[in-house]
Structures are given as structure tokens and as C-alpha cells.
Symmetry: C2
Subunit: 238 residues, 2 copies
Amino acid sequence: MNNIENNEFVSASDYYQAIEGLPKRQREVLNLIAVLIKRNGYSPSLAELAEGINVRNRMTINQHLEALKRKGLVSWSANLKRSLKLTDAVAELLNDQVEDNNSNTIPFPKSKSEYELNVMGTISAGSGIDAIENPEKLDIESYYAKIGCYALKVKGDSMIDAGINDGDYVIVKPNPSPNNGDIVVALLEDGTATVKRFYKESNSFKLVPENPSMNPIIIDKSSNLTIQGIVVGLFRQF
Amino acid sequence: MNNIENNEFVSASDYYQAIEGLPKRQREVLNLIAVLIKRNGYSPSLAELAEGINVRNRMTINQHLEALKRKGLVSWSANLKRSLKLTDAVAELLNDQVEDNNSNTIPFPKSKSEYELNVMGTISAGSGIDAIENPEKLDIESYYAKIGCYALKVKGDSMIDAGINDGDYVIVKPNPSPNNGDIVVALLEDGTATVKRFYKESNSFKLVPENPSMNPIIIDKSSNLTIQGIVVGLFRQF
DNA sequence: AATATAACCATACATAAGTATAGATCAAGC
DNA sequence: GCTTGATCTATACTTATGTATGGTTATATT
């Protein structure tokens, strides 16, 4: 009949609790749905679910599904064959646990947040930790990948005063036309490469290290200087 | 009748080429399958596909599907309603392009690797870029999340000589027992917090800044010092 | 005790939906 | 010209599959 009922769940942990509190058979049906969708790539029928948990009657399944639907965990389109679907959050919670085998026994579901890095607050010396009420996620990989970036591992300390240490990874965005002051990955005419702060002057380019023991590199504008990209991020492992 | 035919495709680029070379209507059908699966969470019927590209007859769709099946791009289980599925590689190629709207026009398919940040090589001043033949993925978020870490945003420059700048995110691993020389997040007795390098001495702890204009903090061992965790990573956005 | 939930059973009805068969036109390649 | 693939059409047949209706027993909660 109708689609999903008033769904009061907001977060993954709500769904997690709901799944945890399911009666045994309802949990088995939910697991089996996830298994069959993953295995077959399409929704199961009532008959297949009935066979999967060894009951003789599709109406039994229908009633389990009605209960699961009331709890916001599944939905379907009325009168359409094989239109059963897991609620998105549920599918995600269960997805990583599904194996392509005959077992419909899924262990304890793992929450997605276990794969996300939370920013819990701000720390400044002389104060306490200023906690963030709703921790935001650090989104590094996909953010930069989406704008076409790649990473390079840095060797050397020419940019140490800019906080770029030996062994760090710089995240580079391809951009042949940097602004003054940008930190760039530059290819020089002699085939060497370097990470430096870039300045454009009237007749030349200047590549400036952030290390007082080193000198800037001046490149005549008639020379061949290739700017691979600008440094937009940094990652370090301690 | 049967499932998928002999599928000679091996790699994503083979599928990509096959999709690229599809006749117009077959491409439209393929796109629409992806759209409807994404939108509805279940497989479309022949009638729905027919309606989607404005033909009157389910047999038209069936013939398009036969052609797509011969090319290894879709499959279904014979005689089962709504059992149509995209081949896994195809689903992945098309998946991220699907919008939850009425359009079944999908631009050029995007590959999953576009969401991953590749380490392309090593750069050291005075040399070229030493390219990595098989670029490895930078795995930051899930790696640290899996071992229980969280991030804190740093305010101040007490650790600037360690390459930790104002505004950086430090990734903190909970650990109440750091080793000498570890950079830690510490809570002092007066309720303040700080990021410093940790040393344990005979009667005291020493929290050492990495900024010559600042002095170490000495804490008597009878005092209450809480070590929240050690700094295991750093991220900066330029 | 009364009520709600859980979990199973049966039969009957209705139709969504896949398949079969047959046909036509057009375009491209040999 | 002939063949193949692409793309559309029609009608008919069949059944997989959801829904409706009705029933029972056991358990937990109020």
C-alpha cells in the first residue's frame, strides 16, 4: 500500500539500535534481504524469502515485512513485484557484512562511522579543548580527488619553515597558472623538480624556499619552466 | 533464458569502450536502467523502461536488452520479474553519474578511482619527480578511524618547529602512556590543554614546545596530568 | 485478565510482467 | 544485391508474485 511510514530515525545509530532490538526472525529476514540483494543484484520475492528461512507461506514473510516496514527498516512499492528495498541507512550498515555465500547469518552490523575521522574540537595552549558539539568529518581523500589532485612524497627540507617536512605528502592540484605566493611543484629546464613558493616578476619567475639556508631560484621568462600544480594540502604521518 | 553469455571483458576500460560504442537507443536504455535502479532501489520492469524512452511495446525493450546482454552489460534471471541487473563493472562506471531526477541522460561515465587520492611519486629538490609505477592510494580517514583516532584543530604555534602550524588538524590516538619524545595532547591540572612534546623524568613530566620563544612546562609527578593521546598524524589545507 | 506483538498456517484472487511469435523499415557493410 | 544489426510495431500466452481474508498459538506487557 503506502510507502514508508513516518520515519523518526535521524542517524545511523538510531538504525543500529533498531536493528539490534529486532526479534530473532525479523532480524533473519532483514539479513536475508541484504544477502539476496547483494548476491542477485535485484530484490527478492516473498517466496524466496520464505524459502530462505524455511517457512511455507508467503504471508508469513509479508507480516515480517510489515513489522520491519513499521520500524522504518524496509520499504516497497505496493503491487509491484520485487520492489522491496532496504532503507538506505540500513543497507549501508549491513552492506559491508554481506558475504557472497549461502549463509544468511550476518554478524553484528558495523557502523559506518567507524570509517570516518571526526574532528572533535579545537585545542589552543592556555585553554581547554573547545569541543565541537556535532563533530564534523574530515574529508580528505575524496575532496581532493574530486578536484583532480594527486599526492607527492616530499624529500628534503627546503620548505621547512612553511611546515612542509621531509617525508610529508603534499597534495597537488594541477594548475599551470599559479598566483604569487602559491606553493608549487615546478619542473625546471634541466629536468629537475622542486617544491617552492612561486612569484612572478617582470622578466622572471622566482621560486623561493622556506628555509633560510637556501637561496631562491630565479628563472628567466624565456626559459622553459613548467608548473605542474599548486600545493593545496599536506598530510604527515608521525 | 540463460544468464550472461560468455563475457570476454576483463577490465573497466573494456566496459568503458563497450558503453562508448553503443548505438544511441541502447545507450539510452542502459542509462535509464541505472537511473531507475538508483532512484527506486529495485530493478525496473520492461514496461517502465518502455515508458522511459517512449516506446509502446515491451518487446522493443526486450530486444534492446538482448543486445545489451550479448555485449555483457546487463543480465537477468529468466522468467523472474524485475530481475534485471547491470553488470557490476558497468554499475560502477555509471553509478556516480546518476542523479535523482527525471533525466536519463548520463554524461560520460566516471570511474571510481576518481574518488581516491593517488601518491604519484616522490619529489626531491635537485632531482626530477621519481614516479611510482603503480600509484598507491593515500588512505587517511579509514586508517586512523579504524584505530580509534580523532582529529583536533590546532590554534597557536607552540609546535611550529615540528611542522605543526596554526590551523592544522592533528590526528590523535588515545593513549595514556606515551613514550619520551612523543607529541601529545595533554590536559593540565588547571583545566588547560596543550599540544607538546612529552618527556618523563625522575620526578616530573616535561612538556616541551617546538618554538624557541617558548619554555617547557614542568609538571610534578604528584600533580594531576592527563594525557589524552599521542599525535599520530597531521593534515593541513593550504 | 486484556491487549499487543511475534510467528506461523491455509486458500483464493488479481495482475504485473516476462516470453513467444510475427511483422516492418532503415542503415551499414561486404 | 544480400546480410546483419538496429529499431520499431502488434497480439497472445503464461505465471511469478503481491495482496486479501481468515485462522492459531505463544509470549510479553499493562
